[in-house]
């Protein structure tokens, strides 16, 4: 109700300033719940960067069972945030997702293990239980295990895979030797729960050479044929990147803005501030344009899957610089 009111108000204000034409509506589907991971968009909304661009943006929080690709296919959003592997897999299913901007330069994904479970290097994984997120987030893990030559189907000599819920309980309870974590989020939940950095070993996907591109902006290819839509996206990307850079420069304020927008009221200030700092490390290297080399590395890693690759053929037209070039230059 509150949000409706604010958007309505924003609409009225926008009308007041530029009576000539109404603001363009854009809806953005996040990949996960409202948190500092998406600070750039909330900053852009809060600081008026979107309305400066004459955009009326609605941000839809995600959740564990929201598949952004499904939402955009159903027309529930104009832009979605997704991970490259999942987006490419969706492309193979016939959904024409195109990356228009990539604010995240580096991956924040890692596998966090307990030292007392007897793990010091990836060579120790065999026979252990590893917690993994599914729902389209399992692809980087699967290609990594492939690279290590470890089976994930539960057969001998491989690893036992556990579908991790949306928390880090399995490692706290000792049900898994390792769990998937993000540098900015779950890792700190483990620390908050009482384990110390000395108790843990972390393997960053970035360091293992299996990193994939996270949290890119994707739209439907057919929409890009529409000039008006393209123009809208150019403005959207420009405002969003402005938001991101502002968030990097003012992490504490950005975290505050995120907290204001969290409808669940479950986030804590401490956690969000810390998350914002970690997120800044991941976004700082990007101006918003996708680096084709990063793309190719992701594709190669996904196609190297031996008998069961995540994607089977070289994707064509999965990204474009058209929007980011127009937005950033």
């Amino acid at each position: 109700m509150n949000r409706l009111l604010t958007t309505a108000l924003a609409g009225v204000l926008a009308l007041g300033t530029s009576v000539a034409h109404a603001a363009d509506d854009v809806s953005l589907q996040l990949k996960w719940v409202t948190q500092a991971q998406f600070a750039g968009y909330y900053v852009a909304l809060d600081k008026g960067f979107y309305s400066d661009e004459d955009l009326n943006v609605t941000i839809k929080p995600g959740g564990p069972d929201i598949a952004p690709a499904q939402v955009i296919a159903g027309g529930g959003a104009d832009v979605v945030l997704d991970w490259m592997p999942s987006a490419l897999a969706s492309r193979e299913k016939g959904l024409d997702l195109v990356n228009i901007a990539q604010p995240f330069k580096t991956s924040g994904m890692m596998l966090t293990c307990r030292k007392d479970a007897g793990i010091s290097s990836p060579a120790d994984f065999a026979g252990k239980t590893l917690g993994v997120w599914f729902f389209g987030n399992e692809y980087p893990f699967l290609s990594w295990m492939n690279k290590l030559g470890l089976k994930t189907d539960g057969s001998d000599g491989g690893v036992t895979v556990l579908k991790q819920g949306f928390n880090v309980d399995p490692i706290l309870q000792g049900q898994a030797a390792c769990v998937s974590t993000m540098t900015y989020n779950e890792y700190w939940q483990i620390i908050d729960a009482g384990l110390t950095a000395d108790d843990l070993v972390v393997f960053k996907y970035e360091d293992q050479g299996v990193a994939t591109l996270e949290d890119g902006m994707y739209v439907l290819g057919e929409n890009l044929k529409d000039a008006a839509f393209k123009d809208k996206m150019v403005r959207f990307v420009r405002a969003s990147m402005k938001g991101w850079k502002w968030a990097e420069a003012n992490p504490d304020e950005a975290a505050g803005i995120v907290l204001d927008n969290d409808a669940s009221g479950a986030q804590t200030e401490e956690h969000q501030k810390r998350m914002m700092r970690e997120i800044s490390k991941l976004t700082s290297g990007s101006n918003g344009a996708l680096d084709p080399a990063d793309f190719q590395r992701t594709v190669d890693s996904l196609m190297s899957g031996g008998s069961d690759p995540v994607i089977t053929k070289q994707p064509v037209g999965a990204w474009t610089h058209e929007i980011s070039d127009a937005a950033l230059n």
């Binding site: 959740g63 564990p64 929201i66 949306f166 669940s264 009221g265 479950a266 804590t268």
Partner: protein
Amino acid sequence: MRSFAPVLTVVGAIMVIWYGAAVALNSSWAYDKAKRADVTLSFSEMVADTMAQKKPLLPAPHQVVAEIYKTTVLKKITSKRSLIWHGWVTLSATLLGFAMGTGFGILLAVGIVHSRAMDMSVMPWVITSQTIPILAVAPMIIVVLNAVGISGLLPKAFISMYLSFFPVVVGMVKGLRSPDAMQMDQMRTWSATQSTMLWKLRLPSSMPYLFPSLKIAMAASLVGAIVGELPTGAVAGLGARLLAGSYYGQTIQIWSALISAAVLAATLVALIGLIQNITLKRMGMLR
């Protein structure tokens, strides 16, 4: 007083078990922590620790009560951290879904009672519909409804409706068929039409069957609203509190959301009970 003492005893016993379980479940974490800090815990220190952990496996009752107090009384109702606000979000979806489910259920029951074809073909599928795991379908329902431009309260209410229409159909089919042959024949001697029979005989006689069904439907509707909030992300509502609590390991928050949901359910069911008493008394069906 006679009826309160046993209830209080049982609740008291549950509390004792709860506290005992809290100590038992949380103690290993307390010892773990102490071991890493290189101190030894006395028993009383351990118990004190298990009562006051930030993220206990099982929070002690007073921690939950304190959390509920903090998030209801001490927070402004409009605050996003207020449980009352979240309760309201869930309640509105529950009530909307309940109303839709009840309406749909009654219509379906009327159809089934009046048409043999409907009775034979629809009824088995009504039962089958309840074996579909709604949580699995919930995200898809929400996405599909989104695609046709429906979002916000309605998708959740649809899930509530899906769960709540079932008991109403079952109860009302029974209720609408409850007038005996003599009463029906009596109506026929006055050459009453089907609709007169429905309004003057079938519906009034179905009331004692309707209300128990409504109670079940209300509880089911609340479950539906909460389930609807789970997969749609931690946006708002008690389900979102549950999810966010689980996501961040905030067990105290999970329990306080659970208990609030329980209180909400109990209140709603009691409300229907009250309406039931008043209605049935007016209709002379209650001594």
